[in-house]
């Protein structure tokens, strides 16, 4: 199979934007992505597009992919909307890589968007709940936060993980997000702030939960046959892995890990021929603080049960052994559901091309992105690697 390369990526700001539409946000992201390609890339170069979107609020559920791609000048190009809840545009990226590797396309857009901020809190809760085992979860009275809280309760009981360790995830990600101009909650928070926030679903408090966001993100994936036209510093898609599972958490044997992520990681590491130790940074799916800790274990950053110690050690901060969520993560950068996976690729591109500003990791070669749908019904991982020469 041909190799696939990441040559550009960009995003809109994440936040609440009553003056914007899903199309205007997508346009901002698309232009940021094409502008980021070192040697330039025109809309007319794009052969195919995959666009992630959950469709929160039920707006433009049908053909929402072509609705945004025609708006940015890709009218006529094959476009597929990808729905995999919060992992929608991580999967859109995977589809783009497949299209390139298969030889069917040379230049593919992987994007995503979501508008979430214009609804009542009851409507928002309803739409956050649509990606679980909805019938049985709703009847029990649980919320989406409650589902992750149940994972946190078992992890705390089994491994002695503490509320303070959960809060340290928030402190770290806010510290990173404060250095990201696109972040929705781009301010620092103290451990005391994070510890004293109101409880949402015990043991999770407000600082253990990501916000709801409007936003869009785009990445450009090209084949080895054309990569030289677009860049002299290619970033190869070295590994891809994905997995799915029962959509209801209560249908799974274990709550202390996400099997779909474990499978995705195994596949991606094997394809890339690397181990967790070889990574220089990672963007992981921290929709809730416990989700980042579970990711540490599922992706092999530490042993099972030791994620609490890893966050405490500071090694996942910028400057540590393996910085995690340098963008601020979902917690601080924001979580516009359909855009989140592509937004993680934006951070990987910025880090690997040395354009991450104040939050730049020192001279990274390799980074990972990890995007989860629902409570783990779908998971997808990419490993991006800087090359000095394009391999034939």
């Amino acid at each position: 199979m041909r190799d696939a390369y990441l040559v550009g990526a960009g995003q809109s700001d994440y936040g609440a934007f009553p003056e914007e539409s899903y199309r205007s946000l997508f346009r901002t992201a698309f232009e940021a992505a094409t502008d980021s390609v070192p040697n330039g890339l025109e809309a007319s170069d794009v052969d195919e597009a995959f666009v992630g979107n959950l469709g929160v609020g039920g707006r433009q559920l049908g053909l929402s992919g072509p609705a945004v791609t025609e708006h940015v000048g890709l009218g006529g190009v094959p476009c597929t909307r990808v729905e995999n809840a919060c992992a929608a545009s991580g999967y859109a990226t995977r589809q783009a890589v497949q299209a390139v590797k298969s030889g069917m396309a040379d230049v593919v857009l992987a994007g995503g968007f979501e508008i979430m901020s214009d609804m009542s809190s009851d409507a928002t809760k309803y739409w956050l709940g649509v990606s679980g085992e909805t019938e049985w979860e709703r009847l029990s009275g649980t919320t989406f936060s409650g589902v992750y809280a149940q994972m946190a309760s078992v992890h705390m009981e089994t491994y002695g993980t503490t509320r303070e360790q959960l809060s340290r995830v928030a402190v770290k990600n806010h510290s990173n997000g404060a250095k990201n101009p696109h972040a929705q909650l781009g301010f620092e928070c103290s451990l005391e702030d994070a510890q004293s926030a109101p409880v949402v679903a015990d043991p999770l408090n407000l600082y253990h939960c990501c916000p709801t966001s409007d936003g869009a993100a785009c990445a450009l994936i090209v084949s080895e046959d054309v990569v030289d036209e677009y860049t002299d510093d290619p970033i190869r898609v070295a590994g891809v892995g994905a997995g799915s599972d029962n959509v209801g958490l209560f249908q799974r044997d274990s709550y202390t890990g996400v099997p779909a992520s474990q499978r995705a990681a195994e596949t991606a590491y094997e394809m890339a021929g690397v181990e967790p130790d070889d990574l220089d940074f990672a963007e992981v799916h921290d929709c809730f603080a416990i989700a980042e800790l579970l990711a540490y274990e599922d992706l092999g950053f530490c042993e099972k049960g030791e994620a609490g110690q890893l966050i405490e050690s500071g090694e996942t901060e910028i400057g540590g052994d393996l910085p995690v969520n340098t963008s601020g993560g979902l917690k601080s950068k924001g979580h516009p559901i359909g855009a989140t996976g592509a937004g993680q690729v934006v951070e990987a591109f910025k880090q690997l091309s040395g354009n991450a500003g104040e939050r730049q990791v020192e001279d990274p070669t390799r980074g990972l992105t990890h995007n989860v749908g629902g409570s783990g019904g779908a998971s997808v991982i990419h490993i991006f690697e800087k090359e000095t020469e394009v391999s034939a």
Binding site: E135, G141, V199, P203
Partner: protein, 146 residues
Amino acid sequence: MTGAESGPVEDRRDSWEGPVPVPTGANSEFWAATLEGELVHQHCEECGTAQLYPRAVCTDCGAVDPPFEASSGVGEVYTYTVCHVPGEPGFGDRTPYVVAAVDLEEGPRLLALVDCDPDRVEIGMALEVTFWQVSDEAALPVFVPQ
């Protein structure tokens, strides 16, 4: 089904403002049993797997239409959360309330409301089922400390 009662049924049809089950397909028999105070689960005759929620096939061996059996209605907390921000409308005036993943004696795990003091709940706590009848067609399994 054996006809044995798993727990008492309380009629809350007049006061309930929360979500109401819609019995369809493999779920119909489950919800019909709740009206009689019976908590049922599927028990595969081919491989012995006990499962909830009800499905068209056994999740382990794929046998079609695994038959229903009554549960004792007794189980324990596998994990839980205390919701301070409510879920569906109807739960709003209950906060803070407990939702638990309950491991039934017979094996299957069920997600359900637990009607108890939030300070009292802990992993491993023994529970037994009661039912709140919320429509003419169904009663919700709600657990209480044993």
